[in-house]
Structures are given as structure tokens and as C-alpha cells.
């Protein structure tokens, strides 16, 4: 995973609540066995009509947001299916920060595993950021979002911050505790499945 760098870009305001992972990546694209290249399927049914022409009324099709790396959206983002393809698609498309009043749990966990920073902020701050026209800066090291007019601090636990900032392979991190895992297994009374 690439280390997370500070991000400066305009925000893409996606003014919707309960955006589920079926919308982020529809099921027909889950059959691929590789991890890359999902960006072209992001919000597929919202971006394209039945003839695969771009729908002009969907925000991601507005050229203004072409290089935006920050998605600012509504409550309960990423609900539904556990498909990590949703996070892969957002990242591959170009988003590395997602800001919302709340996220679904599995989606949130998937973000950290792929180098996307999800930030939970109060509804009012989210709505304010959605109105922001200029570029904003997201600084994970100092946990601050800088807009042209203010600075907003945000929370994150130290383990996840470290994983993102250093781009760590978390399996390698876990292997440092192999003796503890072994110890747990020795004491477990539960038999194997087979």
C-alpha cells in the first residue's frame, strides 16, 4: 500500500444519504479476479445510461470535478455488501479522502486497508464543505482539514493513522505477534472443523 500523503484538491459533493456499495460498484463487475482497474465501474449505473453514454446530471460527469480527490457525502456511506471492490473503485478513480457524517462499518474498515482516509465529521461541517468551491487540504499527520476560510480538526485512532501514513502491510504488522497467536491456539479448547 502507498503511504498516505497530504491531499489538496477541490471537493466533489455527492449529496446523497445511505449510498450502498451496490451503487458504488454494481455486481456485474465483481466477477473479476484482479484487484486493479475498478475505477471505470465506479457509480456505473449513475454515471452511464443503458447505452453507456455519460449521464449529464450526475456530478462525477461534470468536468469541473475531474481531478478531485476528495468526496464529501451523506450519512451511512458504503452501507450494504462487504465488497472491497467499492473501495478499490473509489481509489482507482482518484479519490483518496471521503468525508461523511457516518460510514458503514465494513466499508470503513476496507478504506484503511487500501489507503483511503475516511473522515467522520458533524453534519453541519459536511454540508459546509459541500459548498466549498476552492481547494481544501487534508493533512493526516496533524489531523487537520484546511479550507480557504478555516481549519477543521478530525479524529482517527493511532493504529490506523500509522498504517495509512507509513503505507504498512498490516499482515506483516500482525506477524510481529505470532508468539501471542500461537499461545492463544495452544489454550483454545475448540477443535478443528475437519
Amino acid at each position: 500500500m502507498e503511504p498516505f500523503k497530504s491531499v489538496s484538491s477541490i471537493v466533489t459533493p455527492l449529496d446523497k444519504v445511505n449510498v450502498d456499495t451496490d451503487q458504488i460498484v454494481p455486481k456485474q463487475f465483481l466477477k473479476l479476479v484482479q484487484k486493479s482497474g475498478f475505477g471505470k465501474f465506479l457509480f456505473f449505473n449513475w454515471r452511464f445510461d443503458e447505452n453507456e453514454n455519460k449521464k449529464s446530471d450526475f456530478i462525477l460527469n461534470d468536468p469541473k470535478y475531474k481531478n478531485s480527490q476528495i468526496l464529501v457525502t451523506g450519512d451511512n456511506f458504503g452501507c450494504g455488501s462487504s465488497r472491497e471492490h467499492a473501495v478499490s473503485a473509489l481509489l482507482d478513480y482518484g479519490f483518496s479522502v471521503i468525508i461523511a457524517p457516518s460510514f458503514a462499518d465494513i466499508f470503513l474498515s476496507n478504506c484503511f486497508k487500501n489507503g483511503i482516509l475516511p473522515i467522520t465529521l458533524d453534519q453541519q461541517l459536511v454540508e459546509k464543505l459541500q459548498q466549498e468551491n476552492g481547494a481544501i487540504n487534508v493533512d493526516l499527520e496533524n489531523q487537520i482539514i484546511k479550507t480557504p476560510s478555516e481549519e477543521i480538526s478530525f479524529g482517527i485512532d493511532s493504529y490506523k493513522k500509522k498504517i495509512l501514513l507509513e503505507g504498512l502491510d498490516d499482515i506483516a504488522q500482525t506477524f510481529q505477534y505470532e508468539d501471542k497467536i500461537l499461545e492463544f491456539e495452544k489454550e483454545s479448547k475448540l477443535p478443528s472443523v475437519l
Partner: protein, 471 residues
């Protein structure tokens, strides 16, 4: 202070604990399927890693398998590649696989309990959000993403922030338990607490309305915990739980001594504290029908489609969501739910495709024909369910009523195989998600119980199944 059932399971699985940071939790059972695993196995290969505990890992193929004649080749090339990839990966890493021709094949959340792989007090994960189903047995069962699948394959652990315990009490007695089902209970709960109501929590379902339920009905409840946003849902095990698992194919040899231990340990202490609480009284609840594009957008079958104002109770974002949902569903506020005509019926999925579901639905249709305007199918949750149903002659009841009787898999719950809705088609479905395009691009899904789906198939529109003879 006492502890909740969830806290007891959590604490007995901590490998590493740090203050204010996630804990490393040991995983007792890992279920694997074809869609969310290929990238995980590829990650292992790239880093030259092994599967730590193949003996705690079980795989099957369910999401994109065809439900038609299994002796024919799979026509969809990408599905075929994904299925072959799972076969190859299981062989390479030494994992037991129930493949498309195995008598044990089926939806992963149906076969786990049926085979005695799911056990009380255990931690279970699968790269699928409906893993919460296994919580019906008093297990902590979590859906995870593909990176975590890789992490569990490599280390048999995951890093998890401790969720908060949430008590949902279901109190009272349903007047007509054949017509008002577990599906109606869980849809009523989600309608009340919302699709984000359980976020960050593990729900424990309690009360006489829960203990009264059979194991298969409890699975329907726990299955949809994720639709309320919960990390997991569980029910304390009791004699019904222990009886269900006794003598199954993979039930452990020392089962009775485990049962003795579980009886003493797997319950919430009387002085335990939950951080959140909700109570549903079920004496008078009606069969439920979803009308929108998330499972919280649900009403009683006796009601009409609500206006977005009425639904949102002043929340402008929810109002916008409801407007958009009604537009997608092509429904107008004020339309009686019983007046909504349907094109398709799907009885299937990890929510409602177990033997009891099929028995109950068959009672509704016995001796009748489905409406000529409706196309209907039954997709049993597993090959074993299909076989048991056939032994009881249920297949004939469905076929005689003009239902299609299919092979086991996830099928039209998510339409990754050829079983999909066409744009604009309206479906009464026993599955768990009515998201836009879930069952096929442009398709319109209404979530209902198996008996409500069967009744709708006969009438060609929704109908209050309480009015029908279910004897």
C-alpha cells in the same frame, strides 16, 4: 458489573489488546466463497505466505453459480473463471471446498449451520456481509472485506475496534405465526431503527418473541442485522440451538462437553449493561412489504405508500432519499400496497431459502396456480435443502403451481448469475436488499417473507397473507 454475551465472546478471543486502538481477535471459523477471495489468495501468493489454519477454513461457491442444469458448462466466461480460480486456490492452499457438484454445496450461510461448522461462542468471519446469520447460534459472526479475508487466511486473526452492545428486545406473541414471520419482525425493526441504526454495534436479540422462534427463523433475524448497519447480531444459545447442531456432519466429537460449557457461559449477565436499547412489541404487527430502495423503507401490507414528507419526519436528506426511491420504484404516495402488481417472484437467498421457508411458502400455493402475469422461481439455499424439500414433495407443489424449481445458490438476490430482473420489472423477493439495480439493472425489488411472496405469486399483486388459508 456483569457482561453481555457479546462481551464474553469478545474477551475470550483477544490475542492482543491495546488501549484506544483495535484489538487483535482470534477467528475460529473462516468461510470462503468465489467472489471476495481471489484477490486475497493472490495477495498471499505475491508475499509468499501460507494459509495458517486450513483446518479452520471452509470454501464453497454460491454467488455466481448458475441455478440451472449443473451438468451443462457455465456460459458466462468471467463467472467460470472465478469459479475455477477458487478451485485452484483451494487446491494450492489445502482448503476443503464444497464445489458446484458437492452434496454440501450451497449458500455459505445456509451450509455453515447445516454442516455443524457454525458453533456457539465462536468467532466466525466470511467475506460477505450476511455472515451475521451465524449469530443465531450465539456466535460472533462478522462480514469482512477482501483484505481482511487475506489477513485471516494468513494469521487466523483480525484487528477490530470493539463494537458497542445493543439490546433489541422482541416482546409478545404473534397472533398468526404462519402469516407474520421472522422476516416481518426484522423488517419492522429496521423500519424503526433505520439502516444506520445499528452502526458500530453488535445487536443481541432477546425476549420471548425471539426465544419462541425456531433456529431457521432466528437465522432470518440475525441475517438482516447488517441491513440495520450492525457489525453483527446474535442470540443466546438454548436447547433449540444445541438440538439443531447435534449430530451434524462436522459437529465436534466432544460436542456434549462443549454444550455443558456453553450452557454455563453463553448468556448475558442480569446486571450487564447495553449501550443502546430498542423494544419491538409483536402482538399486532402485520406482514411487511418494502416500497423503497433500502430495507428501512418498509410499510405494513395494509398501508399505502407514504409521502416523502411523512416518511422523513422533517429530515431533508431522508426526504430527498425517499423522493428518489419512489421515482426509481415508479410508485406514487397514497397507492395501497395491495394494489401494487408484480412481474416476478423470487423465493431464495441466505435470508429465506431454508427448508422451513419452503414448507411455509408451499402451504400458500398448494393446489393453486400462480398468476399468468407472473414468473416465479424457488432457489433452495443449499443442495441439502433442495434434497430435503424434494423428499417431502415440495418441489412438485411448486412446479404444479408453475414455479421454476432451481439448483442452490445466491441467484437473484444479487443477480451475479443469469437470474436477473429486466429493467422496469417488479419483483416480490424474499431476499435482503432492495437497493437500486440489486436484482438487475433497472429492476424493482420489494422485500417480503416467503409466505407473502407466495401469496403475491398467486394473486399477481401484494396481498395480506393473513387473509389466506394456511392450514
Amino acid at each position: 458489573m456483569g457482561k453481555t454475551l457479546f462481551e464474553k465472546i469478545w474477551e475470550s478471543h483477544i490475542v492482543v489488546e491495546k488501549q484506544n486502538d483495535p484489538s487483535l481477535i482470534y477467528i475460529d471459523r473462516h468461510l470462503v466463497h468465489e467472489v471476495t477471495s481471489p484477490q486475497a489468495f493472490e495477495g498471499l501468493r505475491m508475499n509468499n505466505r501460507k494459509v495458517r489454519r486450513p483446518d479452520l477454513t471452509i470454501a464453497t461457491m454460491d454467488h455466481n453459480v448458475p441455478t440451472t442444469d449443473r451438468s451443462l458448462p457455465i456460459l458466462d466466461q468471467t463467472s467460470s473463471v472465478q469459479i475455477q480460480t477458487l478451485e485452484k486456490n483451494c487446491k494450492e492452499f489445502g482448503i476443503k471446498l464444497f464445489d458446484i457438484n458437492s452434496p454440501n454445496q450451497g449458500i455459505v450461510h445456509v451450509i455453515g449451520p447445516q454442516l455443524g461448522i457454525t458453533l456457539p461462542g465462536t468467532t466466525i468471519v466470511c467475506g460477505d456481509s450476511h455472515t451475521s446469520t451465524h449469530g443465531a447460534f450465539g456466535a460472533l459472526a462478522l462480514g469482512i472485506g477482501t483484505s481482511d479475508v487475506e489477513h485471516v487466511l494468513a494469521s487466523q486473526t483480525i484487528w477490530l475496534e470493539k463494537p458497542k452492545p445493543f439490546e433489541i428486545r422482541v416482546e409478545g406473541k404473534r397472533k398468526n405465526p404462519h402469516a407474520v414471520t421472522a422476516k416481518d419482525i426484522i423488517l419492522s425493526i429496521i423500519k424503526n431503527i433505520g439502516t444506520g441504526g445499528g452502526t458500530g454495534t453488535v445487536v443481541e436479540y432477546r425476549g420471548d418473541g425471539i426465544t419462541d422462534l425456531s433456529m431457521e427463523q432466528r437465522m432470518t433475524i440475525c441475517n438482516m442485522s447488517i441491513e440495520a448497519g450492525a457489525r453483527a447480531g446474535l442470540i443466546a444459545p438454548d436447547e433449540k440451538t444445541f438440538d439443531y447442531l447435534r449430530g451434524r456432519k462436522y459437529t465436534p466429537k466432544n460436542y456434549e462437553s462443549l454444550v455443558d460449557f456453553w450452557k454455563d457461559h453463553l448468556k448475558t449477565d442480569s446486571d450487564a449493561k447495553f449501550e443502546k436499547q430498542f423494544t419491538l412489541h409483536i402482538d399486532d404487527i402485520a406482514p411487511q412489504v418494502s416500497w423503497g430502495t433500502n430495507p428501512g423503507m418498509t410499510s405494513d401490507v395494509t398501508e399505502s405508500i407514504p409521502s416523502p414528507d411523512e416518511f422523513s419526519k422533517g429530515d431533508s436528506n431522508q426526504k430527498k432519499g425517499a423522493e428518489k426511491a419512489l421515482d426509481y420504484m415508479a410508485l406514487k404516495p397514497g397507492t395501497a400496497i395491495e394494489d401494487i402488481k408484480i412481474d416476478r417472484v423470487f423465493i431464495g437467498s441466505c435470508t429465506n431459502a431454508r427448508l422451513e421457508d419452503l414448507i411455509e411458502a408451499s402451504k400458500v400455493i398448494k393446489g393453486q396456480k400462480i398468476s399468468p402475469n407472473v414468473q416465479a422461481m424457488v432457489v433452495p439455499g443449499s443442495h441439502m435443502v433442495k434434497k430435503q424439500a424434494e423428499e417431502m414433495g415440495l418441489d412438485k407443489i411448486f412446479i404444479n403451481a408453475n414455479f421454476e424449481w432451481r439448483e442452490a445458490g445466491c441467484s437473484m438476490c444479487l443477480g451475479m448469475n443469469p437470474d436477473i430482473l429486466s429493467p422496469g420489472e417488479r419483483c416480490a423477493s424474499t431476499s435482503n436488499r432492495n437497493f437500486e439495480g440489486r436484482q438487475g439493472t433497472g429492476g424493482r425489488t420489494h422485500l417480503v417473507s416467503p409466505v407473502m411472496a407466495a401469496a403475491a405469486a398467486i394473486k399477481g399483486h401484494f396481498v395480506d397473507v393473513r387473509k389466506m388459508d394456511l392450514s
